[in-house]
């Protein structure tokens, strides 16, 4: 939505968290964590390029609003407990 020239600053100063961009829409594949196998090693959290994995009691919770489905977590998980499934499937 175009803002009136009166509503904008003199020069584009960005102060709105990028959480306005729901990059989850980009996803073609979706990571699914098999919690039963998870060792809570935090490696997936560490390597997620977009930092969209939260650790809740040491356990990874993926924010699918933003996860772009790159699959890094899946590949790096030592327990192989994150699988990538096609969006729309399952």
């Amino acid at each position: 939505m175009t803002k009136s020239y009166e509503e904008i600053p003199l020069t584009p100063i960005s102060d709105t968290p990028s959480t306005i961009n729901l990059t989850g829409y980009w996803r073609v594949m979706r990571p699914v964590v098999d919690k039963s196998k998870c060792k809570k090693c935090t490696i997936c959290w560490k390597f997620c390029p977009d930092g969209v994995i939260k650790l809740v009691d040491g356990e990874p919770v993926i924010d699918l609003q933003y996860c772009k489905g790159c699959g890094v977590c899946s590949f790096e998980c030592p327990a192989k407990c994150i699988i990538m499934v096609k969006e729309g499937d399952l």
Partner: protein
Amino acid sequence: MREVMTGNYASAYGAKLARAEVIAAYPITPQTSIVEKLADFVTTGELKAQFIPVESEHSAMAACIAAETAGARTYTATSSHGLTLMHEVLIWASGARLPIVMTNVSRAMAPPWSVWVDHMDSIAQRDTGWLQFFCQSNQEVLDTIIMAYKVCESSGIMLPAMVIMDAFIQSHTSEPVDLPDQELVDSFLPPYSPDLKIEVGKPMGFGSLVKPDQYMEFRYKAMLGMKAARDRVLRVEREFKSIFGREHGGLLERYECDDADVVLVAAGSVAATAKDVVDSMRAKGHRVGLARIRSFRPFPHDEIRALAGKVEGMAVLDRSYTFGAAGAMFTEARASAYSVQKRPVMKNYIAGLGGRDITPRILERIFEDIQVVSRRGAEDEVEWVDVAGLQRRWR
């Protein structure tokens, strides 16, 4: 206190009196003594400022942009190739709405290599969004730097300004200059405090990517800033006069224009010489005047138009030439006067390129020519003055 000094020193004193906090500059003839003097001020402690010895003019301007974004009052000075090397970041500075003040010692561009005056370097920046003030005396250089900060740092304006003087003819000419007291300058020019600056604790991004649906509104705002600058230049000068007792003529200085039949329109040092010529011609009974473009940006649109409504001939002298068009001052003056009902004949005189001296005699001949032409109509709208190989003699 009145002291004899060069235009370059006047410039350095201007920056010092304005209490520039960050100075980033790169040497180039004939600007060097500005920077040397400032380096001196900083070394002796007379000026508390950060001096950044950059490795190019592009970096000089980029460093000023960064420092100004962080809330520091910045200054730089350059000339010709240095100025044109800054071109990209000049546009940046105005887009970022940063009231940087810079001195440009106007010098011809290579090739041919030349270190002498002409205005091509400055004129080629006319589209960059900078205010541009052409000065005629060293006093004006000093005063204009101080005023420029005050004009530009206003929250409605927030645009950068270029204070221009002519290579050698001004930069290296010594003449008496009144050095105002620091306290008076301080009372006139408060410290710089922008509404928004980059600072820790405020995670903002300055200068982001903007899509087609919003870009134009930012440009519109810059236009408003430049528009507001017209009035502000005049207001600030009035205030300056009330404190320091001097003024320099607003956007367009008119000298003996009131009853003039023909006027010369010019900018820079030649305008000073032209005043002598106006006096001597008036003494001989010619009704001639001088309109000095002091502010080329914003262009004195209304002033030129008003003047055009009153005279029969306007001789516009350009100390640069735009290939494929004409002198820039001429083009813009014509555009301004376009809608005037009874327009004067306007003719463009290209003179003084690459340091060619413009003598009083030449100016007199230009006046004589425009007198003739304004009656008869111009044959050629643009004439090159004093070019070897052409029929016409000017000296």
